[in-house]
């Protein structure tokens, strides 16, 4: 029952994130989507992923809130509940197939005796180090671009 409620909440908040015109409300709905997703992961015994999702989601949403507040052009609407209603109804209808129907999945013939740490470090150690390098490179690139723009403006 909890998983079904989470699925409905996930779809409704995702629909609202797309449907609402005001950027800050959209980001708030996206925050709800992140939270529902984290709880769904935690309840599905994927604790590591839930923690990662929460950490990354917190950072992403903080930046999105700031930029949403900065970039919003229109004044905030007051009749937001009236506007939300059709989107919520459509989202509820969209979430029903996930609850009431199912797709048969045939599991692949892969050994299931691999732990998370083994999969992460024994099978993908180079990959993990390389993705750290990618993140550092991107961060440095953005910092250099912003610095050059600042120098150019001054």
């Amino acid at each position: 029952m909890i998983l079904e409620l989470l699925a409905v909440g996930l779809v409704v908040s995702a629909c609202l994130a797309i449907y609402l015109d005001e950027a800050v409300y959209s980001v708030a709905a996206l925050a709800c989507t992140f939270i529902f997703m984290t709880i769904l992961y935690a309840l599905s015994n994927a604790i590591f992923v839930a923690v990662f999702q929460l950490a990354i989601g917190a950072g992403t949403l903080a930046v999105l809130f700031l930029s949403g507040e900065m970039l919003s052009e229109k004044p905030r609407e007051k009749k937001i509940l009236k506007k939300m209603l059709p989107a919520v109804v459509v989202a509820l209808l969209m979430s029903f197939p996930a609850i009431f129907f199912s797709v048969v999945v045939t599991p692949a013939n892969v050994s299931s005796e691999v732990s998370f740490a083994q999969a992460l470090w024994n099978m993908r150690a180079i990959d993990v180090v390389l993705q750290g390098l990618v993140i550092v490179t991107v961060a440095l690139g953005i910092a250099i671009i912003l610095y050059e723009r600042k120098v150019g403006e001054s």
Binding site: A17, L64, A119, V134, L146
Partner: protein, 107 residues
Amino acid sequence: MDYIILSVTLLAIGIYGLLTKRHLLKVLISIELIAMAASMNFVLLASSLDKALGEAFLILAFSTDTCVTAIVLGLLVIVSKKYGTCDIRKLAEIEQSEKGADEENKS
């Protein structure tokens, strides 16, 4: 409850937003939803089949997703400062008018 249908629903919502919304922040939110749908497939199928490899693969997806978000947000701030708008169609119009002005100057 079926996770595949749930992730397909999320994917559909993300693609709808990507195709119909004109604000760049909404486009970014749509991309986030699409990435979320993809990662949900990895995690929930892996955990339901008791395989940790799916969770390990997902960390790469998370880092890539964060990089995409950072780059798009950086571009968004630069574009909004330069042109004063985040509307994709208005930006396309501005680009076309700038191109036209450049061609006139060359000729």
